[in-house]
């Protein structure tokens, strides 16, 4: 199966380990990622703070490219990207907006491209298929599934899982043999982009998340967002310097764990490039 792929800035930059993991895992599951030609920035946090039209036009151009290149479905593994694309898609249902945007992006537009986040692509593979391919069941793994702020929000736009009590990652990981823990911080904020402007806040918030996962018996955290991974993994050293009692908590992308279960190794998945490692 072939599917359109929108990497966004993070997966080609600071979080290219995420891209490696996504590509390796999905390939093993029989999904070819077809990267969008000439994709541009989704607007992320910056555009919508400054200019509402720009915030729609940027993702709209990517959607127009996807349409032009014949993709019915578009995977955006970064939840910020997928949310921005979905938001633009929703706005394109309005004919007036569609005409205006079509003029700005200089491409024909409709709202026909289906934007998917990483979890939805795995759900599409189907639980049966994944179960069938399990090579190394994740016995003894007790992940805390961390959805962060954007995967389920805003609920009216993303329409994905229960916004306050999501369970889709848990369901997938149970199939892989893991025993996800029940914890309190699944949809808390990690501090996200504050990591640049106000690191103190991020360290405080991420600390709470790591401590909560530990208190509820988790032996790792699973994310499906590059920003969450940066704050929980890369910044974990800084957090531990503030609280020495905090044990090391490895942070995996969802595809890392699914990938391991279906027989991939750490190097193939890019896990060896994470900051926190446990022997």
């Amino acid at each position: 199966m072939k599917i359109g792929y929108y990497p966004g800035c993070a997966l080609h930059g600071s979080s290219n380990d995420y891209e490696q993991s996504v590509r390796a895992c999905l390939q093993q599951l029989g999904i070819q990622l077809d990267e969008l030609d000439e994709w541009i920035c989704c607007g992320a946090t910056a555009a919508h703070m400054l200019n509402a039209r720009l915030a729609t036009a940027l993702p709209a151009r990517n959607l127009a490219l996807a349409r032009q290149q014949g993709h019915e479905q578009l995977l955006a593994p970064c939840p910020m990207c997928s949310m921005q694309l979905l938001k633009a898609n929703a706005e394109l249902h309005d004919r007036r907006v569609r005409c205006e945007m079509s003029e700005i992006v200089e491409l024909p537009l409709d709202a026909s491209v289906q934007v998917l986040n990483l979890i939805e692509v795995l759900q599409q593979v189907s639980c049966e298929e994944i179960r069938h391919k399990i090579a190394v069941p994740l016995e003894g793994w007790q992940p805390a599934c961390y959805y962060g702020c954007l995967l389920t929000r805003p609920p009216s736009i993303v329409r994905f899982d229960d916004p306050e009590h999501p369970q889709s990652m848990e369901t997938l990981l149970r199939i892989c043999g893991a025993e996800p823990v029940s914890w309190n911080s699944a949809t808390r904020c990690c501090g996200a982009g504050m990591t640049v402007a106000n690191e103190e806040t991020v360290l405080e918030l991420s600390h709470q998340i790591l401590a909560d996962a530990h208190a509820h018996g988790a032996n790792c955290i699973v994310v499906a967002c590059p920003m969450c991974h940066v704050n929980l993994d890369m910044k974990q050293g800084a957090i531990q310097r503030r609280d020495e009692s905090l044990p090391a908590m490895p942070v995996y992308y969802l595809t890392d764990l699914v990938g391991r279960a279906i027989g991939l190794d750490d190097r193939q998945l890019g896990i060896d490039r994470h900051f926190v490692t446990v022997g």
Binding site: P155, D162, P163, E164, H165, P166, S182, N184, A215
Partner: protein, 666 residues
């Protein structure tokens, strides 16, 4: 030649200020067929009505137009006056020159011209009016009450006590409804069962009441005064006439781990069970999904134990036909499903409150069972997870209610009082316990209600925090309730042992399907619609069908009972008459020209049109034509609009009359 009288009303200043009524009267006097045209200060007053009667006699009038206010206001008044003077009331028409003229215009000249045209139109119509006679409908003096909660019980007893027969249909194995499961009731803290169970017994023993429990209304046909209702009696697997209620069966039944519906899952019951000790009828029912005999053809202990031979594993659903003249719907409510988050639902849940995940987060009906002496803990407040006595309990108001984001914009009305009651019940049983309430507003409108809430706060020490709860977390065996106190403007976290959510009231499941069977309207939330919110609060737009209790909107016990008695009163008003009369302004179909396309049959919203065979003398069927059932027709005129062969017409609003009105403007 017609002899029409026109009476133009001043309505004091209301009309006369803007419309030159004298000029209107003079202008109309010149109309063909008008033999007398007068203006009078108040036509609706006694002198006005006498004038009308006198002129009918003096001028031998055969048609009347009163130019005044809306027909909604006074058409009945003038028709009655005409009838007293010996004129058929349906020869009276009104021209509305107040709401549709004087009240909405300023220019006296233009308004007067418009008034003249309006009256002239009515004169054109009345020229073609035909004398009509009200339709007489025979009446079956027997009522059906659907729902055996406190409202249904009250309505059934009131009607039966007046000497008429009542059929009471209840879906569950026992009557009693939600009230039977409550511990105590506000604002007096009466024991709920103590006041309800004698009424339940009255129902069972009443010679005029036929009780069908574990039954549902399958279909309804017919009309006001004569409904044919099919009731499905679900297979109970126990013959309740033979059964003595000895209890041998349920004490010996080995399947004992089924969640008790009556205890809202907090207690367990057997596969053969009586929902609660005071159930009416006090006879067991077999849960076909849990019974080992019915699921796996094993066991059958109850059959062996039963001395009366009442167990019948071959039992099937039965259909029973009942003929009734009036129907009272009292299907009640249930609590909003806090976990609901399916795509098809218009409401969404509260994943952040952890209901269903944390055993110690319960809803208010579950708390009632915990506090009830007949409940699973015998009235001791114990938390469901480990049976410990909770020392800190948080009560959360408005879970769903008044939350547009969750799809329920309305106030559920009872929860403020329920919370206050729960804090009291809790503090009376756990003296060293802390009771916290998070609320939006305290809405305690009702006799002795606000005093009750003050008592909870001032005497029983309930701690009220004005604000919403954002989430409930679990940590170290405690429930962390995170919210805000907006009066103090501080975020608040309370480490609680138990949380009680006051979920919104929603109509009982299946009420929409029932409403469709009865042709009763309902709102977007599924609450049944009354005819008029103030003046016809228990009537519905389906003649002969009445509503009471929480199926019409959230209400507490006193209101439900009052409304039930009101509905019973309306039924008795009907039953007190020899026959029913209905307005004769209904459709009729000229079968000579009817082509039998039956577009009207599909268009009719009241199922009042049927096919009729047209036969020759020998009884040979020649063709089919449409026919209007005068008992069902509501006179809406939809059939007239869709009829292709112009065979349908509406008495009192005939095409001739309407075209006459239009032509008078030309």
């Amino acid at each position: 030649m017609a002899r029409i009288g026109v009476f133009t009303c001043w309505c004091g200043e209301n009309i006369a200020r803007t419309v030159d009524v004298q000029h209107v009267a003079e202008a109309l006097a010149a109309e063909p067929g008008v033999v007398c045209s007068l203006a009078f200060k108040y036509m609706c007053s006694e002198p006005g009505q006498s004038l009308l009667s006198r002129k009918i006699a003096e001028e031998r009038l055969d048609g009347l137009v009163v130019a005044s206010c809306s027909p909604h206001m006074h058409l009945r008044t003038f028709r009655k006056a005409a009838e007293t003077a010996g004129l058929n009331p349906y020869l009276v028409e009104m021209a509305n020159i107040r709401e549709q003229c004087s009240w909405v215009h300023h220019d006296r000249k233009l308004a007067t011209d418009k008034a003249i045209e309006l009256v002239r139109m009515s004169v054109a119509k009345v020229r073609h009016n035909q004398p009509l006679n009200p339709i007489r409908v025979p009446i079956v003096r027997r009522a059906l009450v659907i729902g055996g909660g406190v409202a249904g019980i009250q309505a059934a007893l009131d009607i039966a006590d007046a000497g008429y027969r009542v059929v009471l249909v209840e879906r569950e194995p026992s009557i009693g409804g939600k009230m039977a499961g409550l511990s105590e009731t506000f604002p007096t803290l009466d024991c709920s069962q103590c006041i309800l169970t004698p009424r339940m017994v009255d129902v069972a023993q009443h010679p005029h009441i036929t009780l069908h429990t574990y039954s549902e209304v399958e279909s309804v046909e017919g009309y006001l005064g004569s409904f044919r209702v099919t009731v499905r009696k679900k297979a109970r697997y126990v013959d309740i006439d033979r059964c003595t209620g000895c209890g041998e069966c349920w004490t010996s039944c080995p399947s004992g781990k089924n969640a008790s519906e009556f205890d809202f899952g907090l207690g367990r019951r057997k596969a053969i069970y009586v929902p609660f000790p005071q159930a009416v009828p006090a006879r067991p029912v077999i849960d076909a999904k849990a019974c080992l005999k019915l699921t796996r053809n094993r066991c059958g202990v109850c059959l062996k134990k039963c001395q009366a031979g009442a167990i019948n594993f071959e039992d099937q659903d039965q259909m029973i036909e009942e003929e009734v003249g009036a129907i009272v719907v009292a299907t009640g409510y249930e609590l909003y499903d806090i976990k609901a988050r399916d795509a098809g639902s218009s409401v969404s849940g509260y994943g952040e409150y952890g209901y269903g995940r944390y055993a110690d987060v319960i809803d208010s009906l579950q708390f009632e069972r915990l506090a009830s002496a007949s409940g699973p803990t015998g009235g001791k407040i114990e938390r469901p997870s480990d049976g410990r006595e909770p020392k800190t309990v948080v009560f959360v108001s408005c879970v769903g209610s008044r939350d547009r984001a969750k799809g329920i914009p309305y106030c559920s009305k009872i929860c403020c009082m329920v919370n206050a009651k729960h804090t009291m019940l809790y503090r009376h049983k756990v003296h060293d316990g802390e009771a916290h309430v998070f609320y939006m507003d305290v809405r305690a409108g009702g006799k002795n209600y606000d005093e009750f809430v003050r008592r909870a706060i001032e005497q029983d020490g309930a701690r009220y925090h004005r604000g919403r709860v954002s989430e409930i977390l679990e940590q170290d065996g405690k429930l962390l309730v995170r919210g805000i106190d907006t009066l103090a403007a501080v975020p608040l976290t309370i480490a609680a042992d138990m949380v009680v959510l006051a979920n919104a009231m929603v109509p009982a499941r299946g009420v929409q399907q029932l409403a469709q069977k009865l042709n009763v309207g309902y709102d977007e939330h599924g609450f049944l619609s009354e005819s008029h919110p103030k003046l016809r609060p228990v009537e519905t737009n389906a003649a002969g069908v009445f509503v009471c209790g929480a199926c019409q909107g959230p209400k507490d016990i006193p209101e439900s009972v009052a409304q039930a008695s009101a509905a019973a009163g309306k039924v008795l008003v009907m039953f007190a008459r020899d026959h029913l009369t209905r307005e004769p302004e209904i459709a009729c179909i000229d079968q000579r020209s009817c082509s039998g396309c039956f577009t009207c049959l599909q268009a009719c919203p009241y199922q009042a049109i049927s096919r009729q065979e047209i036969t020759d003398r020998a009884g040979q069927v020649l063709r089919y034509a449409a026919q209007v059932n005068p008992g069902l027709c509501m006179g809406c005129g939809t059939c007239v609009a869709v009829c292709r062969s112009k065979s349908a017409d509406l008495a009192g609003f005939s095409e001739q009359q309407v075209y006459g009105m239009v032509e008078s403007l030309a």
